[in-house]
Point group: C2
Chain length 169, copies 2
């Protein structure tokens, strides 16, 4: 069976070494907090205005402000900054926290399209950092698609187990 990492690399076309090249330099120290806030704000402005209702609706249970903060705090923490996300919300637990959402190949593609446009729009991130971040995002998006498929497998097994139990249980 392919691992989550193997699936993420195959589907994204990004080698793990390139995905985690974000760790070669401290991007938080290089870019500063405001660059991350600007990126996530630009990204979620696009997401919440998406003309595709199926995609927009994935985010409908969160306010845009919360979505922005959750994202930039995670990025800051993962890219060399203070653990803002974990102090407030705990471990990133990326697969667990995405469990309620349908993280399909199509949704990953659309998420990445908005993120590419957001990166193209912001002016306070240099080209090399943009390349590293986009490789990380591509790999991570498909890592989560792989995590989503695992969820579906587990659920169908669990349902079969449940169906075989006595009704009164």
């Amino acid at each position: 069976m392919q691992s989550l990492q193997q699936k993420a690399s195959e589907w994204s076309g990004v080698d793990p070494n390139d995905a985690f090249a974000i760790d070669e330099t401290n991007l938080f120290e290089k870019l500063g907090l405001q660059a991350f806030i600007n990126l996530s704000t630009n990204f979620y402005n696009r997401v919440y205005d998406d003309e595709e209702e199926w995609f927009r609706s994935i985010f409908s249970n969160s306010s845009k402000e919360d979505a922005i903060r959750n994202q930039y705090e995670f990025f800051v923490q993962r890219m060399g900054g203070p653990p803002l996300y974990s102090e407030r919300k705990g471990h990133p637990a990326l697969i667990g926290r995405h469990r309620p959402f349908p993280v399909t190949h199509k949704a990953a593609d659309r998420w990445l399209q908005h993120m590419q446009q957001a990166l193209d729009s912001v002016t306070d991130i240099d080209e090399d950092s943009k390349t590293k971040m986009m490789n990380f995002f591509r790999h991570t998006a498909f890592f989560l698609v792989a995590g989503d498929e695992l969820k579906n497998q587990n659920q169908s097994v669990a349902c079969k187990h449940a169906a075989n139990k006595p009704a009164a249980e």
Copy 2:
């Protein structure tokens, strides 16, 4: 509804600020790789020799060598060292990767008991670092118990949905 973080703090008795005090100093630079290898080796020697079959069996699908490596690579990465874990396996995805296992309160208590004994046994970790690490472990163990309960909720909803669908679907 209580968040994962709130449940982790309530059940472990560890405030998030104490759990993530591991980030105040770079523990990897302070302790070095061998200290992490020694800790995980000591820990899993205890786990794989546990007299309680119910606990030992949780780990029966992995070799002890793999379990040791997965653990120390994650600890190294999370505590300031190189991203050894992610380069090999991808995001830690703690809740997602624990999905196959019954992470109950009882299992968390027993995991922590072995880890406390392992920390007490190793000589190359100073007392302050031990305290910080144990707070992180306590909080994380119950964070995963909270994640496990979420899984059960989601599964029962998914099974109800599945049961209401036409059989041919």
